[in-house]
């Protein structure tokens, strides 16, 4: 053997060493996955899993409040005899706990009036949060209207919008009477016809086609049935 075995043909010549035929034919050329490809895909997949293992819990953690509904809170604000159907009485109570003074809010309370087709033992609690951007509105006796100091929103005695930028009536709070005491509960929003709906943030419509721009949030309480 003068020729080294591994010296193969010059270009154009018949190969001196014949490789065995691939079996099945085309096995080498036609491979759909090379070893390198397998490892690339596998290491990227493992990296992806590792990244998701960190990102998913963290994102879930930050986003969880969107799907969590807090405890329903009821607070007594005074005996029923304090309130009448003719005018509002202002009460202050804690809507959100844990933030001190900032968690307090003001509501205007009266009992049901016949001229509005309400039962005399209904208690109506109107929120002072303006339906425009949330400034505190004030009930003005002389005008018998709620007036907002920020951008001139005006609401009538029932809290329906009369003028200015607000897009819906004032919100209300659920009420009940326990042991002669009026208690105030979760907030809800109303349509222009005063039908109770799930609470919306200020600036969001509760009626018409615009309503569909503001889908209900799972973090809010369902409205009282009426």
């Amino acid at each position: 053997m003068s020729e080294p075995l591994n010296k193969n043909s010059e270009p154009g010549e018949e190969p001196r060493i014949k490789l065995p035929e691939a079996e099945p034919r085309g096995y080498f050329e036609g491979e759909s996955m090379t070893r390198r490809h397998v490892f690339t895909v596998a290491s990227q997949a493992i990296g992806g899993v590792a990244a998701l293992a960190v990102v998913l819990p963290v994102v879930g953690f930050a986003v969880a409040p969107l799907f969590t509904r807090g405890e329903e809170r009821w607070e007594a604000v005074g005996p029923v005899s304090d309130f009448n159907a003719e005018t509002y009485k202002q009460v202050v109570f804690t809507e959100i706990t844990g933030i001190g003074e900032a968690g307090k809010t003001t509501a205007y309370i009266r009992t049901g009036a016949e001229k509005f087709n309400e039962e005399p033992n209904d208690v109506i609690a109107i929120s002072t949060r303006c339906a425009h951007l949330g400034c505190p509105v004030r009930f003005v006796q002389a005008a018998q209207n709620f007036i907002c100091p920020c951008h001139g929103g005006v609401y009538d005695f029932e809290g329906k919008r009369l003028g200015g930028p607000p897009v819906r009536p004032l919100d209300r709070f659920q009420t009940r009477v326990r042991g002669g005491q009026v208690e105030v509960g979760p907030r809800f929003s109303v349509t222009n016809q005063l039908k109770a709906v799930r609470v919306r943030d200020p600036g969001e419509f509760t009626g018409g086609i615009w309503e569909f721009l503001y889908p209900p949030r799972p973090s809010t309480f369902p409205p009282p049935s009426n």
Binding site: A62, V63, P65, L66, T68, R69, G70, E95, I96, G98, I99, G100, A102, G103, L133, G134, C135, V199, R200, D201, P202, G203, E204, L213, Y214, P215, R217, S219, T220
Partner: protein
């Protein structure tokens, strides 16, 4: 280089012609390995450490690429607005970190901690004032910088991505303003945040959910403050630092744009009238670059002005360009002379470090 040369001279007591032979540092020297440890002390040691680090991370290379890159002719003070914004960002980061040493992000304690910081802590009012005024200043500067890049047409190919990154930075800067405003937790910041959240909520479809995310619930709560604090302290500054890095990378990689009134040079042999555009003085047309790369090419290709060249030059060309070039031409020999002089004298440690 010259530092290494001097060091060598210092080591050989005779100070003879040997100095020439060692002009180039050996590989060991470049890697920061001292030949004779006993002579290394003080600043010399610091230089060796710097060299050791540099040979591993190429800090000088990066520094040179950032600071000694070619800029187009006509570069002016408006080009400093981006750096000014960046300076304020750094200032906000530093003062913010120090404010956080006294601040308590709790709904019941935040206001008291801010009052304490402002009234009782040494320089507290000053540092808080820097952070507060800096916030407004940064908004002003970022808009001015944006206006500069807009009016100079710097957003065009190939710098669109830098514009997009810039817009994200602008949004994040306003997010910093919004989240920071709540932190003092006084009446103003509380109601401002309520209103801002309500505006967010009034956005169609995603608005209500975005507001829930910001508030961490359907109403403003104790968690809202912690959330704003985390966004203000960590999430947004981190994102901004990363994006500013990308922004600068593109500035260095692509070079900056020449002002719109600086034109490409007239092609050789063209008559002056051919390249005159309406409203532009003909002197302005001589120069130059459309972008940084072109600027580099032009500056490097131009030989230093000599008499023959000057004679050739047309009268209109005797403007800024020559001024700059002749300035460099005269400066260079002077600089060289200075270096030679320094080599003659036996250096002291103080000189080495300067």
């Amino acid at each position: 280089m010259s530092l290494l040369k001097r060091k060598k001279k210092d080591e050989s007591p005779e100070g003879s012609g040997e100095a020439e032979a060692v002009a180039k540092p050996t590989k060991g020297e470049r890697m920061g390995q001292a030949k004779d440890l006993s002579v290394h002390h003080g600043t010399q040691g610091a230089i060796d450490v710097a060299g050791w680090v540099d040979s591993r991370v190429n800090a000088t290379g990066i520094f040179t690429a950032m600071m000694s890159r070619h800029v187009p002719k006509g570069t002016n003070w408006f080009y400093t607005l981006g750096s000014a914004t960046m300076f304020i960002f750094a200032m906000q980061a530093i003062t913010g970190v120090f404010l956080s040493m006294y601040y308590t992000p709790s709904a019941t304690q935040a206001y008291a901690s801010i009052t304490h910081l402002t009234n009782d802590v040494f320089m507290g009012e000053f540092v808080r004032g820097m952070h507060k005024w800096g916030a407004s200043l940064m908004i002003i500067l970022i808009f001015l910088h944006m206006a500069r890049t807009f009016f100079f047409g710097a957003y065009k190919y190939p710098r669109e991505l830098n514009w997009v990154i810039g817009v994200v930075l602008l949004i994040l800067t306003t997010v910093m303003g919004l989240t920071g405003y709540l932190l003092p937790f006084d009446q103003r910041s509380f109601w401002a945040t309520i209103v801002a959240n309500n505006i967010t909520a009034s956005g169609p479809v995603v608005g209500p959910y975005l507001a829930d995310f910001l508030r961490a619930g359907p109403d403003f709560s104790a968690t809202t403050l912690s959330r704003f604090y985390a966004l203000h302290m960590m999430v947004v500054p981190g994102l901004m630092a990363a994006l500013i890095g990308a922004h600068l990378f593109f500035v260095v990689k692509l070079g900056t744009t020449a002002p719109p009134w600086v034109r490409a040079p007239r092609p050789k042999g063209a008559r002056p009238s051919e390249s005159v555009t309406a409203g532009v003085a003909s002197e302005d047309l001589e120069e130059v670059p459309v972008n940084g790369a072109a600027a580099a090419a032009v500056t490097e290709a131009d030989p230093p002005v000599d008499e023959a060249n000057a004679a050739e030059a047309e009268a209109v060309e005797a403007t800024e360009a020559e001024e700059t070039e002749s300035a460099t031409a005269t400066e260079e020999p002077a600089a060289e002379a200075a270096t030679e002089e320094a080599e003659e004298e036996p250096p002291t440690d103080g000189e080495v470090s300067s």
